[in-house]
């Protein structure tokens, strides 16, 4: 359901002597429903860049990125917005929220955006926060002051609030303790079981081995590294 064909990415830094950095070239692969694929490769190989391109966060220079019927490389902003609302979820490593908004609302927001009622969204948010061991006394506070691990769990709760048919996970278990890591891996397994397409970056090798069906080494697509 996610398919990349001959995808290319370069960055042109106009204000730094117009340096051109080729990140990836000629990337082609496909991921089916219910499948979880890990992007691997050394730091700087372009894993995160590729993931951000699939999300539409970075512009794609050439090639196609198909998610269902939409080609992200060509889509209008409003098509990508619609896709992100109901089809494509993304758990980034960093939490970016409006200051002052309570954690419960932060987690419920993606569900509200799909048209769920305030109550239904809040119920789902409470269930996820409980499952991810965020103490109830923190729910009414803004997550901006939380610890790194707590912020990451809020981010994960937000990412899993809606049952997206496709998900992108950037280091979902990076700063978690064993118990919470287990919860996140279970969430990923449940998403796979309901047929979600998942592409992830996992530096946690045991986690990768457990949830991923195969690996794609991004350094094969990095110009200058692949011989």
């Amino acid at each position: 359901m996610i398919e990349l064909k001959n995808v290319k990415k370069t960055f042109t830094l106009h204000n730094q002597g117009s340096a051109v950095i080729e990140v990836v070239n000629d990337v082609s692969f496909a991921v089916a429903r219910g499948e979880c694929v890990a992007l691997t490769g050394a730091s700087g190989a372009g894993k995160s860049t590729l993931m951000r391109m699939i999300y539409g966060n970075y512009l794609t220079q050439a090639g196609q990125i198909r998610i269902g019927d939409t080609d992200i490389a060509q889509a209008e902003p409003r098509d990508i917005i619609a896709l992100r609302r109901k089809v494509l979820g993304y758990v980034s490593q960093f939490l970016r929220v409006v200051p002052r908004v309570p954690t419960l609302d932060v987690v419920a927001e993606p569900l509200r955006a799909t048209g769920a009622s305030t109550d239904a969204a809040a119920e789902r948010a409470k269930a996820l926060l409980t499952q991810l061991n965020i103490p109830q006394r923190l729910w009414s506070l803004s997550p901006t002051t939380f610890s790194g691990g707590e912020q990451q769990r809020v981010n994960i709760a937000r990412g899993f609030a809606f049952s997206y048919p496709a998900m992108l996970l950037d280091e979902p278990t990076a700063s978690l303790d064993a118990a919470n890591r287990e919860v996140v891996l279970t969430l990923i397994e449940q998403a796979k079981a309901r047929g979600a397409v998942i592409i992830g970056i996992f530096h946690d090798e045991a986690a990768r081995a457990r949830v991923c069906d195969r690996e794609i080494d991004v350094s094969h697509f990095t110009p200058g590294i692949a011989a």
Binding site: N15, G56, N57, R78, I81, R100, V101
Partner: protein, 256 residues
């Protein structure tokens, strides 16, 4: 789907100077678009051309009206355009004083827009005004106080209440959080986000604050010297800017 607002080739000169030149885009229902650029880049000129405050020299501003479908607001009659600005459009000024009547009570400020669209029952108008004061987090006991007794942040929230009470479909905002301290900005952003989502509003926000557009806008246009030099999804333009000037703008933001 029909765009709510379709801007085609809008150009405005001030004598021999370019205000804005050849701007075109479509805005769809429920979308929030940000316009960024340095002072003098033409963003406020463009906003004023779209909102009917300035007449563009060339170009069309087609709005999908409730009664007659898409109409060019540049060529429609002045009374028709004024009716739009009282009903389907709202305009939030940077300085609340420009959008409020400072000599009239808070409730009167909100109620005036209702009366302009034909509401006459005093009790209903007052109830709606109080309801809106509460929605923008102004205590209902302040309904009879004049905005001169309000803080800057409260005045801005009152201006928003006054604008949204008639249920507009398109809101123009000129630096809505400019001049407010950061804690008040955050509160206002949260409020605006909730209103946009719950009322299904479309909005065009002019600002030079990139953090504001990242949190509020779905789409972004970057302007320089009166022209749109880059446009796209907000996070894409901010995280992967293509044009030299956009790259400079994004990299010039001080990290906190």
């Amino acid at each position: 789907m029909t765009p709510l607002l379709s801007v085609q080739g809008v150009t405005k000169h001030y004598g021999s100077y370019i205000g804005c030149a050849d701007v075109s885009f479509d805005l769809y229902p429920g979308e929030v678009m940000g316009i960024v650029g340095e002072s003098g880049s033409g963003k406020s000129t463009l906003l004023n051309c779209m909102a009917g405050h300035l007449a563009p020299d060339v170009g069309e501003v087609v709005f999908d009206t409730r009664m007659d479908g898409p109409r060019d607001t540049v060529t429609m009659s002045e009374p028709e355009r004024r009716m739009l600005s009282r009903t389907d459009w709202a305009f939030v000024h940077q300085h609340a004083r420009d959008g409020l009547r400072m000599g009239v009570s808070a409730g009167g400020n909100v109620g005036e827009r209702l009366m302009a669209v034909g509401e006459r029952h005093y009790g209903d108008i007052r109830d709606q005004a109080i309801d809106w004061l509460e929605r923008v987090e102004i205590d209902a006991t302040r309904v009879d106080d004049r905005p001169t007794t309000f803080s800057g942040g409260m005045q801005q929230r009152l201006q928003i209440a006054r604008n949204l009470v008639t249920g507009p479909r398109l809101v123009f905002m000129d630096e809505p959080t400019g001049g407010l301290d950061v804690s008040v900005q955050a509160r206002l952003l949260d409020l605006l986000r909730g209103l946009v989502r719950d009322m299904g509003l479309s909005a065009i926000i002019v600002t030079h604050d990139l953090a504001v557009v990242r949190l509020l806008a779905d789409r972004l246009m970057v302007m320089k010297s009166g022209r749109v030099i880059e446009a796209g999804l907000t996070d894409q333009v901010l995280d992967d800017p293509q044009h030299a000037y956009s790259q400079l703008l994004v990299s010039s933001v001080l990290q906190v």
